[in-house]
Each structure stands twice: as C-alpha cells, then as structure tokens.
C-alpha cells in the first residue's frame, strides 16, 4: 500500500471510530450485551473518550504537514533544538 493509501486508511479509520463512538446503535449494542447498568456505564465511558481519536487526528496532521517536512538541516539551523542536541536517534523503521 502506498503512503496515500495508508493515510486514507489512518485518517478515515480514525474518523470512522469517532462516528461509531457517537452512534446510538453502539450504545444499544453495549446495553444488549452487558445489560442496562454495565452496558450503559461502559458506553458512557467510551463516549466521553471521543477526545482521544480527535486528538490523534490533530496531532497526526501536524506530524504529516509540519514535522514530516522538518529535516535535520532545519533542526541544525535553529529551527528547534539548538543547544546541546544529542545525536539523532532513529525511532521508526
């Protein structure tokens, strides 16, 4: 899969999670499986954590649009760490 396909999968999938978290049929499914009390409670927990995927999308956009285009030369030029920078460490394959 190319990088655009991966992006569509990531952003689309995360947005789909957001939409799913807000759907009434998801609440009803929780209640159907776990009962009124536990199912309602678990769904409330899920629903109040919808900030998590939204945060992920915002942060991923910054990584994609800004930091993904920031190279070591930008860092060395003072665009960010300028004092006592440790050697660059690979963090992702």
């Amino acid at each position: 899969m190319n990088r655009w396909g991966k992006r569509v999968l990531f952003y689309g999938g995360t947005l789909a999670v957001v939409v799913l978290m807000c759907q009434d049929f998801v609440r009803r499914a929780h209640i159907a499986v776990l009962g009124d009390s536990a199912g309602g409670s678990l769904y409330s927990f899920v629903r109040t954590n919808v900030e998590a995927p939204i945060s992920i999308i915002f942060i991923a956009l910054y990584l994609d649009l800004v930091l993904g285009r920031r190279h070591a030369s930008d860092v060395a030029a003072g665009d960010g760490p300028a004092t006592d920078p440790a050697p660059a460490v690979e963090v992702d394959a």
Binding site: L67, G68, R70, A72, G80
Partner: protein, 160 residues
C-alpha cells in the same frame, strides 16, 4: 508553503477553534446547515473537544521544541533531544499549568477582576477542563524521558 507558515496555520486553526466552537454564532451556523437537532449535536460535539485542542497544542510543541522530532533524509523519523534545561523548563511549565488549571475558583476570581464575569468564569472553567490534557502530555514526557530504547535496540540488524 514553508515550515513556519505551516506551523502558523495549524496553530492558528486550533487556537481559533477553542473560542469559536463555544460561540453562539457557531451554534447558529451548525443549526442553519444541519437542522436543529443534528446541528446542535454537532456544535456541542466540537464545543466539548477542549482536551483534544489542548492536548494537540501541548504535545506537538513538546515533540518539536524539546525532543526535536524531524524526518531523516531516508524518510524515517528521528529525534534530536534538547539539553536538560529545556526538559526542566518544560516540566516546570507543565507543573504551573497543572496548578493553574486545578484552581478554577481562584483563577476565576482573578480573571474577573479584569474581564467581564461571564468571560472570566468561562475561561477559568475551560482551563479546568484542560487539566486532563496537561496531565496526559506530562505523563507522556515522563515516559519518553524515563523509558528509552536500549543501546542495542536500534538500528535493527538486517535479517540474513
């Protein structure tokens, strides 16, 4: 568009979203587009995303300014950590934010000295709701500083 402009656009969009998402005009706009029920639901949804906006702003600032996250020439992610002073400064800033965000009542009283009462109360409440984001980012920073890859973890030896 250069890097600085990209940063400005992203930060400006999020900073603008914070007050605008709670603005009555935004609510009216959503209702005009989506109808009363769906428009109100959508407006409330975005109005409640305080933690999302604050988490994103704090986290990308720390990733960029403290850990120097950037892209290597071969496309891989890399970090160039700043010295201890920047880390201490970041932790101190987060601790100050924790204190400010926790003290909704005193912050509200101080803000209301200079601002209209409803705006002062709204800002103080917004800050209190941001506490979760500050704690999340602080916890993540602790992880990044305390749990580092071992010396032999990278680079991954090629499979033969």
């Amino acid at each position: 568009m250069n890097l600085t402009m990209r940063r400005v656009v992203w930060v400006a969009a999020l900073v603008a979203a914070m007050p605008l998402s709670g603005w009555a005009g935004t609510y009216a706009g959503w209702r005009a587009v989506l109808g009363e029920a769906a428009g109100t639901a959508m407006a409330v949804f975005w109005d409640l995303q305080v933690e999302s906006y604050v988490t994103a702003l704090l986290l990308v600032g720390i990733l960029e300014l403290v850990y120097g996250l950037h892209r290597r020439g071969d496309g891989r992610w890399a970090v160039a950590r700043r010295g201890g002073g920047a880390h201490i400064l970041a932790y101190a800033g987060l601790l100050v934010l924790v204190a400010v965000c926790s003290a909704e009542g005193p912050v509200r009283d101080i803000l209301q000295l200079a601002l209209p009462h409803d705006i002062g109360a709204s800002v103080a409440h917004y800050l209190r709701r941001s506490l979760e984001a500050v704690l999340t980012v602080g916890g993540l920073m602790l992880f990044l500083d305390l749990v580092r890859p071992g010396p032999f973890a990278h680079p991954t030896p090629p499979h033969t």
